[in-house]
Symmetry: C2
Subunit: 179 residues, 2 copies
């Protein structure tokens, strides 16, 4: 049922997604959605929460403490790109649909993204040359780069998550400067 909602929200966006359409996609009737999951806002927030949590859990699990910074980074990115590849709809809802301002969800999605940023900033702070506060803007850039590259990845399904990780590691770890 939530899956159907995510699929429809992904295709249409929040405002253009009609509750009737979600109900139909889920194979039930509209009042059922209201009975089980509440109003449209709550439904959308429930979708965001679940998908964001899923992504967060995957990344957290992929990054055990004690590894070298660049190895942690690599594994976290791999978890991220894998998520995007396997849950296209979820990703589109989180990245493109939920960020619109003015709704009651702006806060929700900002918080979810914020948690990821904090996680990444924490990772980078373990890296010897950076403290946590200094690493926050770096985390923003890094997360943005991953998002941007995943956007390209959506149009290139033949590119494996591993390959995407390699590309991104090359850029942000090694740098683009000619050697």
């Amino acid at each position: 049922m939530l899956d159907a909602a995510v699929a429809v929200f992904s295709r249409r966006g929040f405002h253009l997604a009609a509750m009737d359409e979600i109900a139909e996609a889920a194979g039930v009737s509209k009042p059922m959605i209201y009975a089980y999951l509440g109003a449209k806002d709550e439904l959308f927030i429930a979708c965001i929460r679940r998908e964001a949590q899923r992504l967060m859990d995957l990344i957290t699990a992929a990054v055990p403490a004690g590894l070298a910074p660049h190895e942690q980074l690599r594994r976290g990115l791999l978890a991220f790109f894998t998520f995007v590849a396997e849950h296209r709809d979820s990703w589109i809802v989180l990245y493109r649909q939920a960020r619109v301002q003015g709704g009651p969800f702006a806060g929700e999605i900002a918080a979810a993204r914020g948690r990821i940023i904090v996680l990444v900033a924490g990772l980078l702070a373990d890296s010897p040359q950076k403290e946590r506060a200094r690493s926050t803007p770096v985390a923003h850039a890094l997360v943005g780069a991953a998002e941007g590259l995943s956007e390209w990845g959506l149009d290139h399904p033949e590119e494996s998550p591993e390959a995407l990780v390699n590309r991104l590691m090359k850029i942000v770890w090694t740098g683009l400067a000619p050697t």
Copy 2:
């Protein structure tokens, strides 16, 4: 008049922006908007077109041919961060509001973003070690990183565009690896 529309779209998003509110913000009445700029869709597209073109022009002008790649990159980024700082509303419309899928604007904004990506990819291709095709995913990551960092910059107005450029150049040009 377009300025008022951009301000309202930025605050509310496309669907929650009422034509009445835009009219009021512009200091005219609703039918005037329709007379001069057409329906809501066309109005929004007009906003996107103008702001995207503005950004594109700024970046293009900031990147003269013949400079060293990293200098071109630096100047392009500076133009970008300056735009975001000076035209907050425009940027929010382009980045957060227009990307929602399903509307008639998805194509418009994707095209605008695509042009920037092509421009950046072209820049990178001038860089000795990369060809144009290979540089497209890099351009995606780079543009994403700039977007992500500008997001952080919106919450830190004390950070100058120059400072943002320095941060980003450090990451993508030098790389994060400990030296």
